[in-house]
């Protein structure tokens, strides 16, 4: 017994595959989540989230039109976003480490590699609740801190941008 009041959560599930949405919704409902909104595309998700202002977003990566990654970037940077801090759990068939890095660099909070299981869904939901991360704003990025540990003390310059600029030169 963890004592979480999942019934108080409002979750937006974004996937262009209706079966996968149904699967995720089934799991979330069984967890006790009662307010679940669905969207079948990134564009539709943007419309829905601006009205519903969810607490958590579970989004697929590969979708026609706006991808899950593009949706995450829009949530973090668009001036009309209702909540730039809303945690996003990225659901994807991508399993290569490069994709995990790409998701992290886009500002995804947690990552679930399909196939989806009850255990991974629960653990990632708990992760976004318990492992609250600091946010970073630089000239090129706004979103959750991409380092999991050891960031509390850093107040220095944006070294990556400097490195990128040097590389460009």
């Amino acid at each position: 017994m963890s004592g979480y009041r999942f019934d108080r959560l409002k979750v937006l599930v974004v996937d262009d595959n209706a079966h996968m949405r149904k699967l995720v919704v089934t799991i979330l409902q069984a967890f006790g989540v009662s307010q679940i909104h669905e969207a079948d595309s990134g564009n539709r998700a943007w419309t829905v989230l601006r009205v519903s202002n969810p607490d958590v977003i579970v989004a697929d990566w590969v979708m026609e039109g706006m991808s899950g990654i593009e949706l995450v970037q829009k949530i973090h940077t668009d001036p009309s976003t209702p909540n730039p801090f809303v945690p996003v759990i990225m659901l994807t068939g991508h399993t290569h480490i490069d994709h995990v890095r790409q998701a992290r660099d886009a500002g995804v909070n947690e990552f679930i590699a399909k196939p989806v299981s009850v255990k991974t869904m629960m653990s990632q939901l708990v992760a976004v609740i318990e492992h609250h991360r600091p946010y970073v704003r630089t000239s090129a990025y706004f979103g959750p801190c991409r380092h999991r540990r050891g960031v509390d003390e850093y107040r220095g310059p944006e070294r990556r941008a400097d490195t990128k600029q040097q590389a460009a030169e």
Binding site: I129, E130, G156
Partner: protein, 165 residues
Amino acid sequence: MAGRQQPIELFMPPNMLKAKVGGGLGGIDMAAMKRAEGALDTRKSEFADWIASDVKTLIDVRARYAKTPDAPSRDALMRAAHDIKGQAATFNFPLIARVAGSLSRLIGDLPASQALPLGLVDGHVNAIQVIHRQGIQDTNDKMAQTLCAELDARVEETLNPKKKS
């Protein structure tokens, strides 16, 4: 050098989620997990229809690509293969997930400027149809394993032709 350095702002927003759902123990809710497993069990009877629908989508987008091999039809083929790769194991067809993974690799890793080898695409689509039609859910099935290994090898040859012996 210092002139190129840019400011970085690091801050901790309030954990509104934690404030909303509580839960001081931070552990896994076993009762909720058990409920969810049960709920998925009740859905299992629908899995066969779901995978059938996904396979049909793959066949349809393959036909679309064969007729018009442009970027949108290639993207549609990629999405269909990728969906099946991610879902088939959940729907109790792990070998279909494996073949779809091989097809996703072929489409995703082959440069966009290079046309997809339709024969190899068809090999994957046909294999998925056969595994589905015969209801092969056992990962140890010899025929399906041989088929998967052959497709993997053909994809490897296509993506890395220099390695071909």
